[in-house]
């Protein structure tokens, strides 16, 4: 059994940033395990620009963003294994991995950072009726085929879901000569960033059809057509509103789900809302010494925030390795209140917060000019008005530790209120 101080599972943006940060914090033996043939994760297929404004103060594409971290990792001499699959992780941080190069290997680490990312929701999750022909792809799969492998997945395309990958793919397919007939969104608002609606749909005259959904897929072998219907306020199709699209391809961009099979195997407690681990302010899960960050924890819309979060995981993992006993104290719970879908982190130990606590959250609906109200054990401590909030755009809330650092504090609640 080979021993490490820190093992990072996943060599995408989260894993890279966490490993680099831990090394900077003085952790000696760090190992990054990556299942793909190269580091960088999904960023390698996200060839569009828009990354890095927060972290690097310049606009980069996904591969450029990844390469900076990969270079840093290599310069620091951090060990990594490619084409290596983690089979399981125990709550004692014993890890079984397999690879062609080394076979079946057992590893152990003082701390583990989970950074496995997420996967896409599929047709099945939506139970879309119709035939099951070739030509129905999740947007991310199509993105890989197009951008990395160089294959076209279709010529006439409809996109279901206005998540960012779908929007980005509308532009990519158009640039590669496909005709994108529309982007269909079940909700009355887009699931992606507004800038992507502008530069991926509007720029190419691709209509965004809000409050619509796909109700039928035709074609026995390859997609031959897709039926779209308008939906009512309960998201049920309205009879008589059928629109027929003559397409050979349907791309699905209907959400991402954190990939937590390994976490569950390790006994990590999950949050039903994020479908990621429940973590504290240090990004530590319910299993001591196992940390989580990035899209495996909750789905982000910007890699810059993944980097921030992962650096925090790396830093606190380093702290844990230096002092595994750690600070034993009662944690405060964060509670998503009215209009709030979820909050990460879910547990706060005030002594571990350096002056200002940062909460990540998603709201449930489009809110314009609403106030984000924070209460500590029911008592209002902060209220800030926000111009525009949407479920597709993650919100960050900062709270000075002095506002909740009292004795016996049990919970911090966040509500969206109109004032």
């Amino acid at each position: 059994m080979k021993a490490y101080d820190l093992i990072v599972v996943g060599g995408g943006p989260a894993g890279l940033a966490a490993a680099v940060e831990a090394k900077k914090e003085g952790v000696d033996k760090v190992l990054v395990l990556e299942r793909d043939r190269e580091l960088g994760g999904i960023l390698q297929q996200c060839i569009h620009n828009g990354f890095g404004l927060h972290i690097f103060k310049e606009e980069l594409t996904g591969p450029e963003y990844a390469e900076r971290f990969i270079d840093e990792l290599k310069e620091m001499g951090i060990e990594y294994r490619l084409d290596t699959m983690v089979l399981d992780i125990s709550d004692e941080r014993i890890i079984h991995v397999i690879s062609k190069a080394e076979g079946f290997v057992t590893l152990v680490a003082k701390a583990v950072i989970l950074a496995m990312g997420c996967r896409e929701r599929t047709r099945g999750a939506l139970a879309i009726p119709g035939y099951r022909p070739a030509g129905v792809f999740t947007a991310g799969t199509a993105q890989r085929y197009l951008n990395m492998e160089g294959y076209m997945v279709g010529k006439k395309v409809l996109i279901l879901g206005s998540g960012d990958i779908g929007l980005i793919m509308a532009r990519r397919m158009t640039l590669e000569g496909a005709k994108v007939l529309g982007c269909v969104e079940l909700m009355p608002f887009s699931g992606g960033l507004t800038r992507n609606i502008v530069q991926c749909l509007d720029d190419y005259d691709i209509p965004l059809m809000l409050s619509h959904t796909v109700t039928d897929i035709q074609g026995k072998d390859r997609v031959q057509g897709v039926t779209v219907m308008k939906v009512d306020e309960n998201r049920q199709p309205i009879p008589g509103t059928e629109i027929q699209f003559d397409v050979d391809t349907l791309l699905l961009s209907v959400g991402l789900i954190p990939e937590n099979e390994l976490s569950k195997g390790a006994g990590v407690q999950l949050d039903m809302k994020t479908r990621g681990a429940i973590v504290n302010e240090s990004m530590e899960t319910s299993v001591p010494g196992i940390f989580a960050c990035g899209n495996v924890l909750h789905v982000h819309d910007l890699v810059d925030w993944v980097t921030d979060e992962s650096r925090r995981a790396g830093k606190f993992a380093a702290k844990y390795i230096a002092n595994p006993g750690g600070q034993k104290e009662e944690a405060i719970e964060t509670i998503p209140g009215q209009g709030v879908g979820y909050i990460v982190p879910q547990r706060i130990r005030p002594s571990q917060v350096d002056q200002v606590l940062e909460l990540f959250m998603r709201v449930r609906d489009i809110y314009v000019g609403q106030t984000v109200v924070i209460r500590v054990d029911g008592k209002e401590v902060q209220a800030k008005r926000r111009g525009h909030m949407a479920p597709g755009e993650m919100e960050r809330v900062k709270l000075p530790v002095s506002l909740f650092n009292g004795p016996g504090v049990k919970k911090i609640t966040v509500d969206v209120e109109s004032r």
Binding site: I47, E59, E149, G150, L175, R195
Partner: protein
């Protein structure tokens, strides 16, 4: 006097701008930073976009190399540029930032590699 509403795409915040024209002078409202002002005016006078795409590559593990315009390209030229980009085939190894096409369509815009790729064959 012309009045146009638009969403700034300079960063993910997506400020909702109102750009007003009066006697050839532009005024931008709704922006949270200076980039927004510049974007608003540019969008009225000479809209440009960064174009991220790929080119063929030989001798690498992957068959496509991601590239982009090193600065934004005039919007009306995007499809003409794509035609030229599609003709190019580069040879691994290649370094991030390497110029794949210089001064495309005489715009002063270069097409540059957005990642490094090793030679594998």
């Amino acid at each position: 006097m012309e009045d146009r509403k638009m969403v700034c795409i300079s960063c993910p915040i997506g400020c909702r701008l109102t750009v007003t024209e009066s006697n050839g002078e532009y005024a931008v409202e709704g922006n949270q930073c200076k980039r927004g002002e510049a974007y608003g005016i540019k969008e009225m006078t000479d809209p440009t976009r960064v174009v991220p795409t790929t080119v063929k590559i030989r001798g690498a593990r992957l068959r496509r190399l991601p590239v982009k315009t090193h600065i934004p390209l005039p919007k009306p030229l995007i499809f003409d540029a794509m035609k030229l980009i599609n003709e190019v085939e580069v040879e691994a190894p290649i370094k991030v930032g390497a110029i794949v096409i210089k001064n495309i369509l005489d715009t002063g815009v270069n097409i540059v590699a957005t990642r490094s790729m090793e030679r594998t064959e």
